[in-house]
């Protein structure tokens, strides 16, 4: 009967759904580059692995439930099923099984990821100071979001922010690769969100709060800085560029910039409106 064909309609959901994901993952025409952007952060791997783990897990559930649904519709369509309906109001045993199984899986995911979250947002890198004590690492730079640009202030040679030797740029963030880096982020007007897709980092920038982000880049190159929180009409153009380079090149770049800014009678206090 034609009626039964509707169950095929629902079978297409898992088939096409999984198909599209696999296609994008493999990345062949016309779906090249439609997967996670290249990751260049040491911690980012953990996020990618967790994503893939959840993808496989939910994928299996998606396929099973989709096929079961199709099969029931196919087998028990009125035009096909001549037997009387199974008059039942449910089964305690089954309800218990299908409550406990998913809760175990969900609790497992919940506990499994806690470490990764703590690494990303709670365990700021530590360094040993001159007295041999373990202290939190200071930020190399402060990124300030404002409508509609990212202002960047480098701590400079003394490693402290808001001192005479600070260096300034706009929308252009250079950072050393292959080592732990801490950034302070800050907003001077509305909410923004500092999003580095290739480093799997995102943090809303909240006015009135100083926040810290850290990572360890595994590669050099230039990457997008995206604003991911609506900040007004110009939100779409709040674009920055992150350049990851070796320590030597970074130091040279910073020194050059500092020399330039000393020459151009640059007075940080006058420009830095909020302090």
């Amino acid at each position: 009967m034609i009626d039964r064909a509707w169950s095929l309609f629902f079978l297409m959901v898992p088939i096409l759904g999984v198909g599209i994901f696999v296609w994008a993952m493999v990345g062949v025409y016309p779906m090249e580059g439609l997967w996670l952007p290249k990751n260049v952060n040491e911690y980012g791997v953990i996020i990618d692995n967790l994503f893939m783990f959840i993808l496989y897990l939910t994928g299996v559930i998606f396929i099973i439930t989709g096929i079961v649904m199709f099969w029931f519709l196919w087998k028990y369509s009125a035009s096909n099923n001549a037997e009387p309906v199974k008059f039942t109001h449910g089964s305690h045993m089954l309800e218990i099984i299908w409550s406990i199984l998913p809760s175990a899986v969900l609790l497992f995911i919940a506990i499994y990821q806690m470490n990764a979250w703590a690494d990303a947002k709670m365990r700021r890198p530590m360094v040993t100071n001159a007295d041999g004590e373990e202290v939190v690492m200071l930020p190399v730079a402060r990124v300030t979001g404002r409508q509609f640009e990212w202002r960047i202030q480098y701590a400079g040679a003394d490693g402290l922010l808001d001192t005479k030797d600070d260096v300034f740029t706009v929308n252009e963030l250079h950072l050393p690769a292959y080592e732990d880096v801490v950034l302070q982020i800050h907003s001077e007007d509305v909410l923004h969100s500092f999003f580095l897709p290739n480093l799997r980092l995102k943090q809303d920038v909240v006015p009135g709060m100083d926040q810290y982000m850290w990572f360890k880049a595994t590669e050099t190159g230039s990457f997008d800085i995206v604003c991911a929180e609506l900040c007004g009409w110009g939100h779409y153009k709040m674009r920055g560029q992150l350049t990851l380079e070796s320590r030597e090149r970074f130091d040279k770049w910073l020194a050059n910039l500092r020399a330039e800014q000393l020459l151009s009678v640059f007075d940080p206090a006058a420009d830095d409106g909020d302090e």
Binding site: I47, T58, I109, D189, L201, Q203, G232
Partner: protein, 597 residues
């Protein structure tokens, strides 16, 4: 149709005075008329919201290009193209309209009103005047939000979440002075309307059930409406208070949400001492429960439809009730999952993460029980059944994508990307809106005494289903690449520049999806007047509303309904018929019903 008060009233229509017309059809206190008023208003807004969405889709497929034909009419000043300011207004209005004027009022307002008294065997709501007011309070909301849209130059553009400081400081969003205030007041009016409705629903369901209608003989639709009303009653006051705080911040400079030391648009705002995150906590304390307000009634209606067309009792009725309650309870302690990367204490984020993971459990239990209901039945693929089945199939996708976002480290990457947009369109459009279509096809015969055309209905279903997946499934993939939401033009970014063709494809699907709704509109309007007449119970269902005349007259029932059993006794061996209505006395030899299934 039988001789009932409404019919006699209708024959008198020629002599009906103007004031009688007004009290019968306009300022009516009859829950059915109010339900239909909600239905018609929300369907009209559905169209508006859909067209706004096409504006967004146009910009994402063809950024800064003239819209053909209508562009010059709409945006003459910009030479027919969407300006970035207008783009923010577009997505703000699309979400506002869809959430506050379509999904919430069509579920609680339209179906809640229409079905609650009929399904519990009451003659009307407990407070008919309050009920009438709950509809008429939507009108100030319609006008406030509508005028906010047209307030020059751009209208409210803070997103439906209206996060301060952007939404509070006019300097940050030039052009939003009046518009944002009107928007906030409009949302407050929706809240007042919902509150009046929920008080009424709670009282009616507790107090006015027909003899024999115990709580565990209620259809799941009613259980869902009951829990939804509870959610509204507890969550809405918080939104209302927060809304007034934001209005005060805007008009009186109270600074609840504004911190010190800001420099906005080169000037220093006068107020300070507040916290932007406070708004997010208050907003999501309402708006997370609100996402369940936007789906629980749909889940209830889907359970009724599936049981009816599988000709089999709902599998696990009580687990279904418990999971609705579980979702509602947990729903109050997961709001922080919208704030994982907001700057909220990450330890708190972990707590919210565990609660969020656990809320997927009752959703899973419900899904398994729907599948269990189909198992061993005799499935009839009618139009309402197809829509209800698609709800189940699509809700699985939306529920599973929720797990990605509940995993905090993954959410760092996908928060505020199209992955989120995919998630909530799967639960809200592919889920709730499809269920609502199913519910309309299912209860239309009761509402108007006529059937809708089944063939057109099936074509409507098939095309909507295909195009909605074309539009929304692809959003997951965009999200995996990191494509941010609310960005007028993402293509200058290296990471996203190659995504334009995919967006173009989605836009074509979206246009087609909106276009095929013409089938529904035509079917709906034509059937009201010319559809084949139906009797009281065209689907052979069990619950009480099908025992009343179609359409029911004033006072609903032409007999006193007495309930002997639960609403899902399809295929019962106790009787020879395929259905076993709740009002049908048991065969004489039988002992009186003991358990309440």
């Amino acid at each position: 149709m039988s001789a009932i008060p409404a019919d006699s009233q209708r024959t008198e229509t020629p002599r009906m005075s103007l004031s009688a017309f007004f009290t019968t059809y306009v300022f009516s206190k009859d829950h059915k008329i109010i339900g239909l008023q909600f239905l018609f208003s929300t369907l009209l807004w559905f169209l508006v919201g859909g067209l706004l969405a096409l504006g967004i889709r146009w910009q994402l497929a063809f950024p800064w290009q003239d819209m053909p034909v209508i562009g010059n009419m709409l945006f003459a000043a910009e030479g027919g193209q969407i300006s970035p300011e207008f783009y923010t207004t577009l997505f703000t209005m699309h979400a506002t309209v869809m959430i506050f004027f379509v999904i919430i009022p069509i579920l609680a307002g339209a179906f809640g009103n229409y079905l609650i008294p009929l399904m519990i065997g009451a003659d009307d709501m407990a407070f008919p005047t309050l009920n009438m007011l709950s509809y008429w309070f939507m009108w100030p909301a319609f006008m406030l939000i509508g005028s906010s849209f047209f307030t020059p130059p751009y209208g409210a553009g803070g997103g439906w979440t209206s996060y301060p400081p952007l939404s509070v400081m006019t300097g940050a969003a030039p052009g939003s002075e009046l518009a944002q205030t009107l928007w906030l007041l409009g949302i407050t009016c929706v809240g007042v309307s919902s509150m009046m409705g929920s008080v009424n629903y709670l009282t009616t369901i507790i107090q006015m059930r027909a003899p024999g209608m115990t709580m565990f003989r209620l259809p799941l639709t009613i259980w869902a409406m009951f829990i939804t009303a509870l959610l509204q009653a507890f969550a809405l006051p918080v939104l209302t208070a927060a809304g007034f705080m934001q209005v005060a911040d805007r008009l009186l400079g109270t600074g609840f949400f504004i911190p010190e030391h800001l420099v906005v648009n080169n000037s220093i705002p006068a107020s300070g001492g507040g916290q932007p995150l406070l708004w997010q906590h208050l907003f999501w304390f309402y708006s997370h429960p609100a996402v369940y307000i936007m789906i629980l009634p749909a889940m209830g209606m889907v359970s009724d439809i599936i049981s009816c067309f599988a000709r089999k009792p709902v599998y696990g009725y009580k687990p279904m009730v418990y999971s609705i309650s579980g979702i509602a309870g947990l729903g109050f302690i997961v709001w922080g999952h919208h704030m994982f990367v907001s700057g909220m204490n990450p330890v708190l984020g972990m707590t919210f993460m565990v609660a969020t993971m656990m809320i997927a459990l009752p959703s899973a239990v419900k899904t398994f029980n729907w599948l269990g209901t189909i198992w061993g039945g005799k499935v009839e693929f009618t139009t309402p059944m197809l829509f209800a089945l698609s709800f189940v199939s699509m809700f699985i996708i939306g529920g599973l994508s929720g797990i990605f976002m509940a995993a905090t480290p993954v959410d760092i990457f996908i928060h505020d990307t199209y992955f989120i947009v995919a998630h909530f369109h799967y639960v809200l459009f592919a889920g709730t809106a499809m269920a609502v279509f199913g519910a309309i096809y299912f209860w239309f015969p009761k509402m108007f005494g006529r059937m809708m055309n089944d063939t057109i209905g099936k074509v409507h279903f098939a095309l909507t289903f295909i195009f909605l997946n074309g539009t929304f499934f692809t959003m997951h993939i965009l999200g995996v690449v990191g494509f941010p939401r609310r960005l007028a033009d993402p293509y200058p970014y290296k990471t996203f520049e190659h995504l334009q063709p995919m967006n173009e494809f989605m836009t074509y699907c979206a246009i087609a999806m909106v276009a095929v709704q013409i089938l529904f509109v035509v079917n709906f309007i034509y059937s009201i007047f010319y559809g084949p007449r139906c009797g009281r119970n065209p689907w052979g269902a069990n619950s009480l509303e099908w025992m009343a005349p179609s359409p029911p007259g004033h006072g609903n029932f032409d007999f006193q309904p007495v309930v002997y059993r639960g609403p899902y006794e399809y295929g019962s061996p106790e009787v020879d018929t395929d259905n076993y209505p709740q009002t049908q006395p048991p065969p004489p030899k039988d002992v009186p019903p003991t358990s309440e299934h």
